[in-house]
């Protein structure tokens, strides 16, 4: 009967209160994290082992989907080949170009804000509009072929020829990577001036400044860009969906497009989930590899 019932709750309330308040503030995120992240993440794993076509119950079929995906469905191999090629065409070239353009936009000449605005602006259009814009640019009688015509080359019908369709999409991706450019520009502006002065004192030239100061200093931003664009490009969809519909043949059949068709055109939810999980594992592996390789080229202040 004589339990210290009155005192204890008060003390623990005072101690608990900040934690409860804190969790209350982040609760909107906890809801979306649970229902829109954790639950779907696990559910798509479970669905991978089922056959489910939107009607009736999902049927457990063991490793059938996985076997089909890895060994029987030739389209999966095609989609993977296309997607990896697309990553290799866009990420290194896109990174190099965004570094060069960022350096150019970091020059102290008059009118630079104007150039920054106009270089970045086209990439805000995004999505379907940007895809259509580039469809016109790459048309058989479009401006690229007109320019090639001036030097006597007859340009191909870019989006409709097997050999050129994927490189054309890659060109579009590289030309509209405005955000990457701005991230690197921001990193360039953060490089401490005294480091350049030190190179001056040592009698180093522009090249020494770039190689020994600029590049190491912006390498974390470059690394971040490589990670984010690799993840993004692996999931590409809209370009192929709008510009080429995956064709000609399977020349631009992005993995994302194939997954979309399986899930939302053929309603093979189980098989599409297996495809989605394989994409997740591939992206995870690429990210881990990127982090491993980063040790050799990314410079962090305070190390060494």
């Amino acid at each position: 009967m004589q339990t210290p019932r009155t005192a204890a709750p008060n003390i623990s309330w005072a101690r608990l209160r900040p934690h409860i308040v804190g969790w209350a503030f982040i609760s909107p995120w906890l809801v979306s994290f649970s229902f829109l992240m954790v639950y779907p993440f696990i559910a798509s794993f479970v669905l991978s082992f089922t056959r489910y076509q939107l009607i009736g119950e999902a049927q457990f079929i063991g490793f059938e989907n996985i076997q089909r995906m890895l060994f029987e469905d030739e389209r999966v191999a095609d989609a993977l080949r296309v997607t990896f090629t697309y990553v290799l065409l866009t990420v290194p070239a896109g990174t190099a170009i965004s570094i060069l353009v960022a350096i150019l936009l970091n020059q102290s000449v008059r009118g630079i804000p104007f150039f920054r605005t106009s270089f970045y602006m086209p990439s805000v259009i995004g999505g379907v509009g940007l895809a259509l814009l580039w469809t016109t640019i790459l048309a058989k009688n479009g401006p690229i072929n007109a320019a090639l015509g001036l030097v006597g080359i007859e340009g191909p019908n870019w989006l409709f020829e097997t050999a050129w369709a994927l490189p054309s999409l890659a060109l579009k991706a590289i030309a509209t990577a405005g955000a990457a450019m701005l991230i690197i520009l921001a990193a360039l502006q953060g490089v401490p001036q005294h480091l350049y002065e030190a190179v001056d004192l040592d009698g180093g030239g522009e090249w020494a400044k770039f190689w020994h100061v600029t590049l190491p200093q912006i390498s974390p931003a470059i690394f971040y860009n490589v990670i984010v664009t690799t993840i993004g490009v692996m999931q590409s969809f809209v370009e192929a969906f709008i510009m080429t519909n995956g064709g000609p043949g399977t020349a631009t059949l992005f993995y994302g497009l194939y997954l979309y068709r399986q899930a939302f055109e053929f309603y093979r939810m189980g098989y599409a989930s297996a495809l989605a999980w394989m994409m997740f594992l591939i992206i995870l592996a690429l990210t881990i590899i990127n982090f491993r390789v980063a040790r050799f080229w990314v410079y962090y202040e305070g190390e060494e």
Binding site: M37, A43, V124, I125, L132, A221, V238, F241
Partner: protein, 291 residues
């Protein structure tokens, strides 16, 4: 001695001039490269059908033909699609602002069990591929009867996008903690500190988030095409894709398609010019344009 110095400075200025010349040349090349596609599309939208059949096409239309605009506007019900998109976008932007600021405040100004761990979890979810969660999400929304409505496009905005939470948190961290302490002494609780003291100071980040989410929702074709199925609910992006497929099926009117591309891109261009400053700052901070 003085002669030597002056010739040295002279060579320094010539060097400087050469450098500027090189910079401007490259900037001009870049300008053409980045702006030309936009310019081409605008010019194409003013071309007649005959202009498109020239090989190679001329840059400028033979006459200023405005007819593509009304025919594009009427070829699919763009008026309704614009209204639909505006409703989806504005409700989403409001949701992103409310939820990201509340959660961002929690992660930056309050101390509680699991805070740092949960924040790391939040950051890592930014890397989770969209495709791995979309199928169960679709099934979940179907089971509660939301597929075919705008709800799957709008409601998640009210439950905190990690990228925007991160932006808010980074900004809240820069505000001095004395503000909270002073407010506490005046008898403010956490909600009061958030609402009355700190939120008014975060206008620049709120602007950044508003612009990012505006652009992202407006152009988010994938989700729209997955969740919407009736003409009356369609968005501008879907309308544009429709037009594209109609044309791909042998009704060759590229001028019309280009006109539609121009007027559906105008909101993006407008928001870019209004909020450029905030956008650039946000991209530099988060390294992305949201989601």
């Amino acid at each position: 001695m003085s002669v030597l110095t002056s010739s040295w400075t002279k060579s320094k200025t010539t060097q400087r001039r050469l450098r500027d010349l090189l910079a401007y040349t490259l900037l001009a090349v870049g300008f053409v490269w980045f702006i030309f596609p936009l310019f081409w599309v605008i010019m194409s939208s003013l071309k007649t059908f005959e202009d498109f059949n020239q090989i190679p096409q001329r840059i400028f239309p033979s006459e200023l033909y405005l007819g593509n605009y009304p025919s594009a506007w009427n070829s699919v019900p763009f008026g309704r699609y614009f209204i639909n998109t505006a409703i989806i976008v504005s409700l989403s932007v409001v949701g992103e602002l409310i939820s990201a600021s509340i959660v961002g405040f929690g992660f930056s100004r309050l101390k509680f069990w699991g805070r740092n761990f949960l924040f790391m979890v939040l950051l890592s979810t930014m890397m989770l591929p969209f495709w791995v969660v979309i199928i169960p999400r679709f099934l979940l929304y179907r089971d509660i009867g939301w597929v075919g409505t705008w709800l799957p496009l709008i409601v998640p905005s009210y439950f905190a996008n990690p990228v925007y939470v991160f932006l808010m948190r980074q900004f809240f961290m820069t505000l001095p903690s004395e503000l909270d302490d002073a407010a506490k002494i005046d008898g403010c609780n956490e909600l009061g500190i958030f609402w009355r003291i700190l939120l008014p100071l975060t206008k620049p980040v709120l602007a950044t988030i508003a612009i990012f989410s505006f652009i992202n929702v407006w152009t988010d074709f994938v989700k729209q095409v997955i969740y919407l199925s009736q003409d009356s609910t369609y968005t501008v992006a879907i309308g544009l894709a429709f037009l594209r497929w109609q044309i791909a099926q042998g009704d060759p009117v590229p001028g019309l398609l280009m006109a539609a591309t121009v007027f559906t891109s105008l909101p993006m261009i407008a928001i870019f010019f209004i909020g450029q400053k905030y956008m650039v700052r946000g991209i530099a901070l988060t390294g992305r344009t949201g989601t």
